[in-house]
């Protein structure tokens, strides 16, 4: 029996900055429903690789395929809409906006209703509900009204995780809503474990 095609396929990807080869012929095949960790010393090129996957950078060579479709050269928002979400190494939030709004923006990113010029945000029920749900999952349910910039560092990392989670797009292949593939960049193991634990608890209690 042939193994299923990988969800994410990185094939011989390189990225150079002038003379510096930051990523040098990396290949990786990631099947669905699996977790991988990429570790390495400073300067190894981890951040560059993540930026190549989610589109902040374009590869100098090689290609990246998601669900069999190439991602190379696509804009970050297009890649996100294919079903890839990520967190960032340095906290990359919306500092003056409230925690709830940070999450709601992520949840509303599919664009439905976002071009509404005269309507009310309150009437977009689905993103608001998803935002509250994610807030609970990452342990920020008590801090919804707080501007993101005023959270503690740990809370900001939780929100960072939350924003990546709240981003959800419909993936045709998987036929399921939800961020299909997530890049957790610089989120501590304990943070992720706590999240997974909470999610299991929430699910088990349904």
């Amino acid at each position: 029996m042939t193994p299923p095609p990988p969800l994410l396929a990185i094939e011989g990807v390189t990225r150079s900055f002038a003379a510096l080869r930051a990523v040098n012929g990396v290949s990786l095949a990631l099947p669905a429903r699996e977790r991988r960790a990429i570790i390495g010393p400073n300067g190894a090129g981890k951040t560059t690789l993540f930026n190549l996957i989610t589109g902040q950078l374009a590869p100098s060579g090689g290609r990246i395929l998601f669900e069999g479709e190439p991602l190379t050269g696509l804009a970050p928002h297009t890649i996100a809409r294919r079903g890839i979400s990520r967190s960032f190494q340095r906290t990359n939030l919306f500092p003056r906006l409230a925690v709830l709004e940070n999450l709601r923006l992520a949840a509303a990113a599919d664009g439905r209703g976002s071009y509404d010029l005269l309507g009310s945000v309150g009437r977009l029920a689905a993103p608001l509900a998803r935002a509250r749900e994610v807030a609970a999952e990452v342990g920020l349910a008590e801090r919804l009204g707080e501007p993101a910039g005023l959270l503690s560092y740990g809370e900001q990392r939780q929100l960072e995780l939350g924003v990546a989670l709240a981003t959800q797009f419909f993936s045709a292949a998987a036929a399921l809503p939800g961020a299909v593939f997530s890049v957790w960049h610089n989120l501590s193991g304990s943070l992720l474990a706590a999240y997974w634990g909470r999610r299991e608890t929430t699910r088990n209690s349904e």
């Binding site: 804009a75 928002h77 996100a80 990359n92 923006l105 990113a109 209703g113 976002s114 945000v121």
Partner: protein, 307 residues
Amino acid sequence: MSYRLATFAVLLAVFAIVPSFFGNYHVKLLQEILIWGIFAMSLDLLMGYAGMVSFGHSAFFGIGGYVAALVLKQSAGTLGALVFPALAAALAALVIGFFSIRVSGVYFIMLTLAFSQMFYAYTFQVAWLGAEDGIVGVPRASVLGVDTTTPWAFHLYVIALAALALLVLWRIVRSPFGHVLRGIHENEARMEAIGYPVNRYKLLAFAIAGLLAGVAGSLYAQFSGSITPDAFFWTTSGEALLMVIIGGTGTLGGAVLGAATFILLQSFVSTYTERWMLILGVTFITFVLFAPGGIVGALKGRIGLRA
């Protein structure tokens, strides 16, 4: 909320009856403030909510003015007073915006400045637009069946448009679209990463702002009966910028306050001293340094009004 709506209504009523108590000079001042207020509010949408600091907003003001002037002299109706100027300005904003949003920061400033200067250079030279003297003899029109050629009617017309502009912008910044703009202002890269086609939103914001600036320009042509290439000059954009910052960036109403400050300084202060430009410059610099929230920000801090 209804408290604010009530204040707004009272203010409009007060403006409406100004001609009964004040002479021509003061009435014209008020109208000029409201017209520039529309122009400055449209810039505030760009600057305060979408985070795009443009030095070329005068392009749309000028286009609105010139298109209005040209059409109104042929036929003084709604098309010339509102429809064509707004459409022309919006179209220009789509084109200019399409190129300008590809760059940001200082480069955005210089690119938008270059575009508006192109219009200045063109209108200054060509005879069919009156060259340096521009177009004169612009009539007031019959708008949507209402005759605005009498002083009273025109006065109410200006107030109505200003109020409408404020209400429309107010709804827009509170809408889902407005929230996206604010997200872009806060962290454009993150918005891009979570799936928003940021350029599309910026372009739409640019077009809306351009459209409203065009309405202001058209109104200005009807107000003064003429339009000159100066409407396009980069200092016109700069003056709108001053108004937004003095009033309070990102407050909408602040832009009108800023317009009032500028125009009152220009007219009243200049009767006592010639140094109104100096006072304006110092005021502006003081605000930038110490009160980046502008007048509205300062008021909120003192009286504790909610956002």
